[in-house]
């Protein structure tokens, strides 16, 4: 008898089957974000490899060019730096002044070559750093993370303002299902640039509410992104701004 009643009781508890589609949607989104992260990671690694390869490939040419440079300068015998015409940096012109170069001991000439090589490889390194920085900046723009400890409380008045704003944007109910929306503002946190609200977007299904997504919303109420709880905190991408859709 216990089994019969327990089965009947549980059978009457119907889950929301629409959740299955939500699960597959979320899985797709996660897969996309995984691909993006992998691409960014491999992009950075590829850039580093390219820089190293470029340095290795062009090193003999740079070396040859630099070996020729002091000779050309000394051959002109004057203030004109013929080979130096390709040197755009004005400071490099002062490295091997023609007058000094005429009687320059060999060791000093080599110093000039070394300085020029250093300049060329510095330029390549700077380029590599710039490209890595661009990738890092790109990631910083598209991703955010916050730990639970960084979240602080929001006043009830503020919660009401934010919730009313979200209702004014998304409506009181979902158009297709007529399920009533519920915006729960959990707290607030600061990033280097902005202050965000952290919230949960739910809707009422029958007599209980069901979670649609967690979100972050900036204090200016202009950007709202889906976020994912990851045990110790939340992370989000700025790929889709709900307020722009």
């Amino acid at each position: 008898m216990f089994r019969k009643y327990y089965k009947e009781a549980n059978d009457s508890l119907e889950p929301n089957r629409a959740l299955i589609d939500e699960i597959f949607e979320k899985a797709k989104k996660k897969e996309k974000s995984k691909i993006y992260k992998l691409a960014a990671r491999y992009g950075t690694a590829m850039a580093a490899v390219l820089v190293i390869a470029a340095t290795a490939v062009f090193y003999p040419q740079i070396k040859n060019l630099n070996e020729q440079l002091p000779v050309t300068v000394s051959e002109t015998g004057g203030g004109e730096v013929l080979a130096g015409e390709s040197i755009e940096n004005e400071s490099m012109r002062t490295i091997v002044p023609a007058e000094e170069n005429q009687g320059m001991p060999k060791a000093e000439t080599n110093d000039a070559v070394v300085t020029q090589e250093k300049f060329s490889s510095d330029a390549i390194n700077k380029e590599a750093m710039r490209s890595e920085q661009a990738i890092t900046e790109d990631l910083a723009v598209t991703e955010g993370r916050v730990s639970m400890d960084e979240i602080y409380d929001v006043t009830d008045a503020e919660k009401n303002v934010v919730s009313s704003f979200l209702h004014s944007i998304f409506g009181e109910r979902d158009e297709a299902t007529q399920n009533k929306f519920l915006f729960e503002i959990v707290g607030k946190f600061d990033t280097d640039e902005k202050t965000f609200y952290l919230g949960r977007w739910r809707w009422w299904v029958g007599d209980h509410s069901s979670l649609l997504t967690e979100f972050v919303l900036d204090e200016n109420l202009s950007n709202m992104y889906e976020c994912i709880a990851n045990g110790e905190g939340f992370s989000w991408t700025t790929e889709n701004n709900f307020l722009e859709e």
Binding site: F2, Y5, H208
Partner: protein, 158 residues
């Protein structure tokens, strides 16, 4: 993916009810269901058989339900009033047995639910939960004893 969808659809109700028996709250049960199946869809491991998948999702559901309560998210955001989720039934008997199970400790709830609702054998439960069959037996026996006390002996536990 189609194969995985069939699995999700097949075990969706089972995991929901198991999660509900553990969390005692419909919202939290849905959160657990989402987590379990997202993990399943992400899992790269090769499952040997459908029984293996079933055991795996049951174990993940139990673990997720337990970790949900200890997560900082729920500690911070879910007030106790929200955790109380009253469910009404059309008969007193259903209500009595359901709430009697609900009052048991989680470890007894899990084995009672799997044994009496999912009709799983002691061996199947022990494999799914990765515990010794004798542990399942003793938890089942202790769970039944507690239920008899709560229900004042009005039901048989075959």
């Amino acid at each position: 993916m189609e194969e995985k969808r069939q699995i999700v659809e097949k075990y969706f109700n089972m995991i929901y009810r198991l999660a509900l028996s553990q969390t005692k709250n419909r919202e939290m049960a849905e959160d657990v269901v989402q987590e379990v199946f997202l993990r399943y869809l992400k899992a790269d491991r090769g499952f040997e058989s459908e029984e293996h998948i079933k055991a795996w999702v049951i174990r993940v559901a139990i673990n997720c339900s337990h970790s949900l309560f200890s997560s900082s998210w729920y500690k911070k955001t879910a007030p106790m009033s929200e955790l109380k989720d009253e469910i009404t039934f059309d008969s007193e008997e259903k209500s009595d047995v359901y709430y009697a199970v609900k009052e048991l400790a989680p470890k007894y709830r899990a084995v009672i639910h799997l044994f009496y609702y999912e009709d799983m054998s002691i061996d199947e439960i022990s494999k799914a939960l990765k515990v010794n069959p004798s542990t399942v037996k003793s938890q089942l026996s202790r769970g039944r004893k507690l239920l008899r006390e709560k229900l004042k002996g009005g039901y048989d536990f075959v």
